[in-house]
C-alpha cells in the first residue's frame, strides 16, 4: 500500500494556503487604512470551505483522455467587499481595529492549520520509521 500524500495531508494544506492569501488581503486593508476611497476586502472562508467540500464529494470524472483534471485548489477564493459599520467621509471603509483583530485571528488559524499539518507529517514519519 503506497502512501498518498493528498489523502494523508487532507484539507489542511489548502487551508494553510488560503490563510496565507487571507493574511495578504488583510495586510492590504491595514496598510490602506488612510487611503481615500479605498474599500476593504476579505475572503469568505466558509464559502471557500463549502466549495472545497463539495468539490471533494462530487468530483468530476475524466471520461476522456483529453479532459483537464481540476487543480488541487478547485475553488477560486473570491474577494468580497466588506460592509462598513460606520461610513467615513473620504470613502474609506477600513475599520483598523476590526481588521487588526481579524488579522490576529487569521494568524491563530494559520497556526492551528500548521499544527494539524505538522501532526500529519509526524504521523507519516513514524509510520515510515516503524518505531
Amino acid at each position: 500500500m503506497a502512501i498518498n500524500f493528498n489523502n494523508a495531508l487532507g484539507i489542511h494544506e489548502q487551508a494553510l494556503q488560503l490563510k496565507v492569501k487571507r493574511s495578504e488581503v488583510l495586510a492590504n486593508n491595514l496598510v490602506n487604512a488612510d487611503t481615500p476611497n479605498f474599500k476593504a476586502r476579505d475572503i469568505d472562508f466558509q464559502a471557500v470551505l463549502k466549495g472545497q467540500q463539495g468539490a471533494t464529494s462530487t468530483r468530476l470524472q475524466a471520461t476522456h483522455s483529453r479532459h483537464i483534471a481540476p487543480s488541487s485548489l478547485a475553488f477560486e477564493p473570491q474577494l468580497q467587499y466588506r460592509n462598513p459599520l460606520q461610513p467615513s467621509l473620504d470613502g474609506n471603509t477600513v475599520d483598523e481595529q476590526v481588521e487588526m483583530t481579524r488579522f490576529a485571528k487569521n494568524t491563530m488559524d494559520f497556526q492551528a492549520s500548521f499544527q494539524f499539518l505538522n501532526g500529519r507529517f509526524k504521523g507519516l514519519k513514524s509510520a515510515i520509521r516503524g518505531d
Binding site: 495578504e24 495586510a27 488612510d34 509526524k122
Partner: protein, 145 residues
C-alpha cells in the same frame, strides 16, 4: 507561498507613513517661518496616498482575485495647501514688506499634531503586521521537524 507579499505590503506602508511623518515634521518646523511676500512664504504640504494596482506590483501574487485586487500603498504626490496665508502687521520684523506686513505659513499646528499621531499609529500597525508575517514564516520553516 505568498507570505513575502505581506512583507512587501507592510514595507510600502511603513515607507508611506514615514513620508507622511516627514511632511508633518517639515510643516511644524516651518510653522513660524515668516516671509515678506505670498510667493516666498512656506505653505503646508501633505502627501497623497493611493493603493497600488496589483498588476503593477506582481501579476502572480494573487492570481485568482480578479484584476481589481490592489496590493500595497504609494505616495503619488505631495500637494501644497491652498489655504490663505496669515497676514500680520509687524513693522519691526526684518522680513516686513513696505506696508509693514509679514506673511505666516498656513500650517495648522493642531491638525499637524493629530496627523502625526495618526501616522505613527499606522506605522505601528504595519510593524505588527510584519511581525505576525515573520512569525508565520518561521513556523512554516519548522514544518515536519
Amino acid at each position: 507561498m505568498s507570505l513575502s507579499g505581506v512583507f512587501d505590503i507592510a514595507g510600502m506602508g511603513m515607507s508611506a507613513q514615514s513620508i507622511r511623518l516627514n511632511s508633518t515634521a517639515s510643516n511644524l518646523a516651518n510653522a513660524q517661518a515668516a516671509g515678506s511676500s505670498e510667493e516666498e512664504t512656506y505653505r503646508a504640504r501633505h502627501p497623497v496616498f493611493s493603493s497600488v494596482a496589483q498588476d503593477l506590483l506582481s501579476p502572480s501574487a494573487i492570481p485568482s482575485m480578479g484584476d481589481q485586487a490592489s496590493v500595497g500603498l504609494q505616495v503619488v504626490d505631495i500637494v501644497e495647501s491652498t489655504e490663505p496665508l496669515e497676514q500680520r502687521y509687524e513693522p519691526d520684523h526684518p522680513n516686513a514688506n513696505d506696508e509693514g506686513y509679514v506673511f505666516y505659513p498656513n500650517v495648522n499646528v493642531v491638525e499637524e499634531m493629530a496627523d502625526m499621531i495618526s501616522a505613527s499609529r499606522s506605522f505601528q500597525v504595519n510593524v505588527e503586521v510584519m511581525n505576525s508575517a515573520k512569525t508565520m514564516m518561521q513556523r512554516l520553516l519548522t514544518l515536519g521537524q
